[in-house]
């Protein structure tokens, strides 16, 4: 018997024995039942397999998601912006000799992720042990806010950072930042300017640098941590510091509201030093006095007073209609349209041109302007850049003001410095054009070589006019109001100006003046123009208030201190030959 048949045999026996146990229709029913069971078992198996497959897919999805999360960069910093933005370098700013005026130093700033702070009260209390200046209310609001990022304190010292780290407060952190530092502080504030907390240039050359494209680069994230080529300025920080000292001292000494001065290279138009007080500390701009913001040298306009007579006289001489030897009748005041033009130092006689300049005769000057005529007057001042906005690198430049319509009375008052408001720097630049052989050079705060300057120079007056003006300035300094600007060895020439101060559009009743002194030295071959002004001084040398007693000594002081540094050789003796004694 084969194996198979034996099995069949066993099976059939079993069937019979089963069926025989009292189940009549057992055989058929049981077979049918068996078949049903087999079917259901195989169906159940395939369906279990389906469920296994479903779970398999689900686990693959979960696994894939986990891998996706693992390769995702942590997003907790995404709300802050790219880290290198805060680390973006600004170029150092250096003076003409390479001394640093502004540089970056690395600091850290403290931030909080409020949603991660566990105990706000505790965190605040601990932070205040290190940073007592932290405002509790504002910080509490920040820490309880729903935001994910809050600056708490910018630009901490390394010591503060390590103390906060030692506190181990969860949810606060540090981000490295660069902070701008200005070693010379307020001395060069108005030129160098300053940056805000986000290292954007807000004023001065800092803002100029941003306007040149640095800010645009930063905005599109094209900044780097790398060191940038420093920006060199035309400033000489030694001269600048002296000038600042003189300004600060003079303002206190003459009890003035403000003072300012500039040293300008007549041949290149470079500003070597310029400043006005009050000013601010760029290292801590927020806490500086409010009126310190104004850069009065470029962003303040003033009626220059008698200083303007320099330009009127130059105009008259340049027109060819007036010669140095001409005389004008200054005996009687000019009456026009209800105004009376008088002289301050009235001589009541016929004056020559040098005398008019020396005695600062309003009548004489007005008559000289009258000879040139209104269109000529306007055109000449425009040529010297006194009626249009000055073009230079500093962003803070105010446009001069002039009468909407020039009438005869306007021309007369403008001839002696009333009716047109100009910035002091602009006035100095126009003065330089008279001193350098008649070339107008836009002022610059960046180094400019003589060749570059010559290339851009515009001839505005005849060389002979320049020569005459040098004579007049020297004459005035020696014999007129500018005596106190004289410095032995350096031939200073200059013109004072004492203007009635304009307050709220009217001339001040209290007798306050705006005093200026426009000078050049050495006057026989001028290298530098120095202009000083002092606003509303209550006193001066010897008790007077006129420009000769305060603005002129300021120029003298600046030249006395800085001329050796500017490379001007002193000449002593009557004819300029060197003396064998030292002063």
């Amino acid at each position: 018997m084969s194996f198979l048949s034996r099995i069949m045999d066993v099976k059939s026996k079993a069937h019979f024995s089963h069926g025989g146990n009292g189940r009549p229709a057992g055989a058929t029913a049981s077979t049918a039942f068996q078949g049903h069971r087999k079917r259901s078992a195989s169906q159940a198996r395939s369906r279990v397999a389906v469920i296994m497959a479903v779970f398999g897919i689900a686990y693959c999805v979960v696994g894939g998601r986990l891998v996706q999360y693992a390769i995702t960069a942590p997003e907790s910093v995404s709300s802050i912006g790219p880290a290198d933005h805060l680390l973006a370098s600004r170029p150092d700013i250096v003076d003409r000799n390479g001394e640093i005026l502004a540089t970056d130093i690395r600091t850290v700033s403290l931030y909080a992720e409020p949603h991660k702070i566990v105990d706000v009260d505790e965190a605040l209390e601990q932070l205040r042990t290190v940073l007592p200046e932290l405002d509790s209310k504002a910080t509490y609001r920040k820490l309880t806010s729903k935001s994910r990022f809050q600056w708490l304190q910018r630009q901490l010292t390394p010591k503060q950072q390590s103390r906060i780290l030692a506190l181990g407060i969860p949810g606060v952190g540090f981000r490295p930042e660069k902070r701008r530092f200005y070693p010379s502080g307020p001395a060069s504030a108005h030129i160098v300017g300053y940056v805000n907390i986000d290292n954007r240039g807000i004023a001065g050359m800092e803002r100029y640098i941003d306007n040149q494209g640095l800010a645009d680069l930063a905005a599109i994230g094209m900044t780097s941590d790398a060191k940038l080529e420093p920006v060199r300025l035309s400033i000489d920080i030694r001269v600048q510091s002296m000038l600042h000292d003189v300004l600060t001292e003079s303002m206190a000494k003459y009890q003035a509201e403000a003072a300012g001065a500039v040293v300008l290279d007549v041949h290149t138009g470079e500003v070597l030093a310029m400043g006005s007080v009050p000013n601010y500390d760029p290292n801590n701009p927020a806490e500086s006095a409010k009126d310190g913001w104004l850069n009065r040298m470029t962003d303040g306009t003033f009626e220059m007073g008698s200083t303007f007579k320099t330009f009127t006289t130059a105009m008259a001489l340049d027109s060819g209609k007036v010669k140095l030897t001409d005389s004008f009748d200054a005996r009687y005041p000019i009456r026009i349209g209800g105004f009376t033009i008088k002289d301050f130092h009235g001589k009541h006689r016929v004056l020559t041109v040098p005398e008019i300049f020396q005695y600062s005769s309003n009548i004489g000057t007005a008559k000289m302007a009258d000879i040139v005529g209104i269109p000529g007057h306007k055109e000449f001042l425009t040529r010297l850049g006194l009626l249009s906005k000055m073009q230079t690198e500093l962003p803070e430049v105010k446009a001069p003001t002039q009468p909407r319509e020039w009438k005869k009375i306007n021309s007369i008052t403008i001839s002696f410095g009333h009716g047109v408001s100009t910035t002091p720097l602009q006035t100095a630049v126009a003065g330089a054009a008279l001193m350098n052989g008649g070339k107008y050079l836009p002022p610059t705060f960046l180094p400019r070589s003589r060749d570059e300057a010559d290339a851009m120079a515009q001839a505005v007056v005849k060389p002979s006019t320049g020569e005459d003006m040098k004579f007049l300035l020297r004459w005035n300094a020696m014999n007129g109001s500018g005596k106190r600007a004289l410095v032995p060895g350096f031939n200073v020439g200059g013109k004072t100006g004492t203007a009635d101060k304009v307050v709220n559009g009217r001339y001040a009743k209290n007798g306050l003046n705006f005093n200026a002194f426009l000078s050049a030295f050495p006057i026989d071959d001028p290298q530098y123009v120095v202009l000083s002004f002092i606003d509303a001084p209550k006193t001066g040398e010897g008790g007077g208030r006129t420009a000769g007693l305060n603005a002129a000594p300021m120029v003298g002081e600046i030249i006395r201190r800085s001329a050796p540094l500017l490379g001007v050789k002193p000449k002593f003796g009557e004819d300029g030959s060197a003396l064998l004694v030292s002063y």
């Binding site: 159940a44 369906r47 779970f55 949603h115």
Partner: protein, 384 residues
């Protein structure tokens, strides 16, 4: 070592238990206890409790839980069925009681307070319900004239109604998925699959329109708008953890995740122990589910097949929902991670589930007898 020659109940248990299952369950509970140290102090501090309040309680729950699991694993399939029947009746009764006398927590009546102990009867209902349904399906498969399927449908209706009444839509979805899976294995005709599928979809639509919080959660999941604080912080924690984690105790985001010790423990695990660790957790769950289904695949006995498949489906689906919510694959739904999350009722109930699985997957001589019977005769050992 227990001698193989011994024939006592302990020796029997030792030699017949599925050790891989046992190891997996113990491993998951161990991981859960370890994660309790990471996840629960932050919650305890927030509730002004002792830092290790929940760790201590977790340890306290582990003892009866493991004891329950081991004790249940001693049962024979018949005893499993009886235990399940008693447990189902008790838990259904308790659920009805909870509706009337329960403690209202976050707008739902799920908890019943007995003395100082508060229990969640629906947790205990789940394994019992699965076992009883498996029995009903297998009875129907054995003898089609027995209306097992009908009874299973009725039972499901009662359970679902009680869960919706609490309301506890997460559990409803879980129970529905597991019950549907079992019905599917039991040979549900395709017409029924389509019918019940559409009923489930309809139910979901009704839930969407009837319960504001359901609609809100689904909308938030689909659009990513609104208050997604929980899932956002969970994602942040996981991403922060990266492959290898920040290290034990170094988690920061875990401190602000609500329910970090229960529903979002997976994210805490990711932040401190890394995504690879999370993959291991998921792999252990996958192992349990696939091994259980493999048992079911090989199993000759319908009841055991359905019961084991249903029970691992319960653990698998619940873990899948929890992990899915943590990974933002599913709308936010409060569901514990079986065997790992903190929670007395949930842990004990899952140990009942694990115990049932262990009991039903033991090597049994009956199985061999059934195998032989296929060759020998039509004398079939009916399901116990």
């Amino acid at each position: 070592m227990v001698s193989r020659a011994e024939r006592g109940p302990v020796a029997d248990w030792f030699w017949t238990i599925d050790r891989f299952f046992l190891a997996a369950f113990i491993l998951l509970m161990g991981i859960g206890f370890m994660l309790s140290f990471a996840a629960s102090p932050a919650v305890a501090e927030r509730l002004n409790l002792d830092s290790f309040h929940f760790v201590k309680r977790h340890a306290l729950f582990l003892v009866p839980a493991i004891a329950t699991m081991v004790a249940i694993s001693f049962l024979s399939p018949r005893q499993v069925r009886r235990t399940a029947a008693i447990l189902l009746i008790l838990s259904l009764a308790a659920m009805v009681l909870a509706l009337f006398f329960g403690i209202e927590v976050k707008g739902a009546r799920r908890w019943l307070s007995i003395g100082s102990l508060s229990i969640q009867p629906s947790e205990f209902m789940k394994p019992a319900f699965v076992v009883i349904c498996a029995w009903l399906f297998s009875e129907h498969a054995r003898q089609p004239e027995i209306p097992g399927n009908l009874f299973a449908i009725l039972l499901y209706g009662i359970v679902a109604a009680l869960l919706v009444a609490q309301p506890d839509l997460g559990q409803t979805i879980l129970v529905t998925a597991v019950w549907g899976g079992m019905f599917f294995m039991a040979g549900m005709p395709w017409i029924w699959i389509i019918l019940l599928g559409s009923v489930a979809l309809g139910g979901f639509a009704v839930a969407y329109y009837m319960f504001d919080h359901v609609a809100g959660r689904v909308d938030r999941f689909l659009t990513g708008e609104g208050d997604t604080f929980q899932v956002d912080t969970a994602r942040e924690a996981i991403i922060r953890g990266d492959w290898f984690g920040k290290g034990p105790g170094e988690g920061v985001v875990k401190r602000i995740i609500p329910d970090s010790h229960t529903d979002f423990i997976f994210s805490v695990a990711a932040e401190e122990f890394g995504i690879i660790f999370c993959m291991i957790i998921v792999a252990v769950f996958a192992f349990v589910v696939l091994r259980g289904l493999n048992h079911a695949f090989k199993e000759r006995n319908d009841f055991t097949r359905f019961a084991v498949a249903g029970l691992v489906l319960l653990i698998g689906t619940q873990s899948m929902i929890n992990v899915g919510v943590n990974l933002e694959l599913l709308p936010a739904k409060g569901m514990t991670l079986p065997l790992i999350s903190y929670g007395g009722s949930s842990m004990t109930a899952i140990c009942v589930t694990a115990g049932f699985i262990l009991a039903l997957t033991r090597h049994r001589p009956e199985k061999r007898a059934t195998e032989r019977s296929l060759f020998r005769s039509g004398m079939v050992a009916p399901a116990e």
